[in-house]
Symmetry: C2
Subunit: 470 residues, 2 copies
């Protein structure tokens, strides 16, 4: 156990025993650092760990406070959306924001991608050269769906190491995770069906629903523990649900992570109603701590969990290689893929198969996780310091997004326009719901640790937010 | 003018003047070769050219005969499908046949792909290495839709050289042509709409219609000149048509090529009814003769022609790089792409941009066209010699498919099963219609010129066909 973990353990016992009651302020970082003879950053790590566990919350410019009700206090500040299904319209806002993320002149606080300089692009290029050199022309058809066999075996192997039994023949290689997700949605739904998503949710899920003429049921999501299972259970009892599209690990945009027990309960609940789970698991490898979350697929006995993964966020941005573990829908998925995009780029598949076969991936991942974890702390501290009192921050245990809930008078759509003028892209909360929710929220990308513009940009955003108060 | 062209010219004048009346047999190859002091292959070339022009037809084991009515005699032997729309079901047959095309142990007569050894894979791999070496990480987002700018400029340049004005900004790079086609279909139709396709047509068009809940109107197609415009005109007057999905050049499976005047008429007819044309132009570069067909896009004044192209069939199989020139639908296409597969593989785009920038493409294409043209002649002669009397062959001027119409008692589904047992894949005619048509027809892939198994396999197929007669 590391020093900060020991310290966090000690304080969590103080909280649980009532010695530190609800509303009590934790001692300051400086004070604790002196009295415990540990560095200030160790204290910070400990307090953030307590925050991630839902025991304390940070109040900007004030400090850390014990939560009134650790299991419910972290829910979004404003009313959760009612669990009724609604038709979804594809909003121009999302496309406008996406368009800003490709402008190199903008500071990418609103970007959906981590910085490409975090990835072993040179090693991948060498793996590509080897992969193409050793490729006999006749083998090109071998990478047709379900895809490169060596690559599928490597993916199955990684699941096996994580304790999930997956047959390489059940894996379909796709053009990134987004294709895996949209194909999954297509094979398990028909126009008019209702699909459960988290609220807030990844905007691409809303777009995919809109395109397929589906209705969204947005269910509340706890910033620490993810989807509210009681709401899901009530919804399943009340109406027919064609599928759930969820992100149990490091949810985009909240950063929430479902505890293992919740995942087990989720899968068993869905199995009881025979509802497929489209399991968006693209951030699975980006856990900041030493252990990955347990995949929902681990609890799947009925082949109802369609786990979608990708190398785009953890290894090879732009290569467009993702996959879906298809369960009972594996054949339908393969056919849907053949009918829409036929195959996934052979060079990309070859390069990744070659890279994974020759090692180095785990070393890269360890370094990437450390970098993102450190940057998460840095960004959280900075945001805590800069943003106005009343602001709430998520405490993600993985990924590269912070979810910021400003005081409710703050308008992040207005902020988006103002920040753009200052050369900064942002992702306003409105992108993440089909309903007009989250208008005071912001998703903050901290995945560009080497970009010196990050800190000044955050200051600018904080100033713009403060000006809205005036 | 080459020798065979001079000879063909001379005989076409004899036919047009009536000196060689309908039903007359052309002099034999041997005879003509001796009397004209040209090689037998020159005579063959001349007769095939006459056939391609619709003036004569080959009767297997007999010779070439002047057609009764050069403009109509070449229509499919059996009744054309009535121009009523019908719902489309995705047939297992197509998937079963596709599954056989990846089996290296089978002779690929049924394959949809040309042999990968016809392509400059080593040069592409070198271009890939250069492209990835010179790629700064921050540039990876540059290849997001609409796609790599250098590549789009190169594609626009090729259109310009062919006399078609296309703005690079109107080009969307896709995951192969199939994605370009399916996205196009999505943006111009709604479920329940009717879409005109050729009969026979590319099975993927039927599958795409089925997936989107669209109805197919299969219109007759002349084996030499493509879609019957009178039928199209009558259909457009009678009912609402949401789009046409056509392949004016080297149609798959017929091999037909619309004459320039027909294209002009087609585009103007559709413009009058404001109907978009999904222009499947993937074989455009594979003309056997010196000149490419004029693209339908050249006549587009209203932005209604969505021309879809690809490098998969002419340069880089497996790289999955295609495109669509979107016309008035360019923005909708870009958004649809972002919502389904997000982006096209960056390495593939980089490699092609680099390859096209450094020359060699035209040299490769010239050699590829020569090879396919020669192989077309070889396959046509062989088929003419081997297949039973009453068989009719298409005379494609490009691509790598022959369309074979056996006598109507022949059952090519049965043939498919029998050929598979002999280690040969075939593409039975039934794949190419939603109606139970073309049961006696076969699409024959001649795009594997270096495969020594081709000739013996064709003999086996001929024997199996002959046995069905018994």
């Amino acid at each position: 156990m590391k020093r900060y973990e020991v310290l966090a353990q000690e304080f969590s016992e103080l909280i649980r025993s009532g010695a530190l009651p609800a509303g009590a302020r934790l001692p300051s970082v400086r004070e604790t650092s002196r009295s415990r003879r540990v560095s200030p950053s160790t204290v910070f790590e400990a307090w953030y760990l307590l925050q991630a566990r839902g025991l304390v919350e940070s109040r900007p410019r004030s400090g850390f406070y014990v939560r009134a009700d650790p299991t419910s206090a972290a829910k979004p500040a404003r009313a959760v959306p009612p669990p009724r299904s609604r038709a979804v319209a594809v909003s121009d806002l999302v496309f406008d924001v996406l368009a800003t993320t490709r402008r190199a002149d903008l500071v990418p606080l609103g970007s959906a991608f981590p910085s490409a300089d975090l990835f072993p692009l040179a090693q991948l290029a060498r793996a590509m050269a080897r992969g193409l050199r050793s490729l006999p022309p006749a083998r090109i058809v071998d990478d047709l769906p379900p895809g490169n066999e060596r690559l599928r075996r490597q993916i199955a192997l990684r699941y096996a190491r994580a304790g999930v039994e997956v047959d390489a023949d059940d894996i379909l290689i796709t053009n990134g995770a987004l294709e895996a997700l949209t194909l999954s949605l297509q094979v398990v739904t028909r126009p008019g069906d209702a699909v459960v998503v988290e609220s807030p949710t990844f905007y691409a899920a809303l777009q995919a629903l809109a395109r397929s003429g589906l209705r969204a049921i947005e269910l509340p999501c706890h910033p620490a523990t993810g989807l509210d299972l009681a709401s899901l259970s009530a919804t399943l009892r009340r109406q027919r649900v064609a599928a759930c599209w969820l992100m149990p690990s490091f949810q985009n945009p909240l950063g929430s992570t479902m505890p293992t027990e919740h995942r087990r309960e989720l899968v068993s609940l869905l199995a009881a109603h025979d509802v497929p789970l489209i399991d968006d698991d693209v951030y699975a490898e980006l856990h900041h701590g030493p252990h990955p979350p347990v995949s929902a697929k681990a609890f799947d006995r009925k082949g109802l969990v369609l786990t979608c993964g990708s190398f785009s966020k953890c290894l090879a941005p732009g290569y467009r290689v993702g996959w879906v573990v298809g369960g009972r829908h594996a054949q339908a998925l393969e056919r849907a893929k053949i009918m829409t995009t036929l195959a996934t780029a052979v060079p990309s598949q070859q390069a990744l198969a070659e890279y994974l076969d020759h090692g180095g991936y785990d070393r890269h991942l360890r370094s990437l996780r450390r970098t993102l974890g450190r940057q998460c702390d840095f960004a959280s501290r900075l945001a805590t310091r800069l943003f106005p009192a009343g602001t709430r921050l998520s405490a993600p245990e993985g990924g590269y997004f912070l979810w910021v809930e400003f005081p409710t008078h703050v308008d992040t759509l207005q902020l988006h326009a103002q920040a753009l003028e200052q050369g900064i892209s942002t992702a306003p909360g409105r992108m993440f719901s089909a309903a007009p929710h989250f208008g005071h929220c912001l998703r903050l990308n901290f995945g560009h640790p080497r970009d010196p513009r990050f800190e000044p940009a955050l200051r600018t955003v904080a100033d713009l937010v403060a000006a809205q108060r005036a």
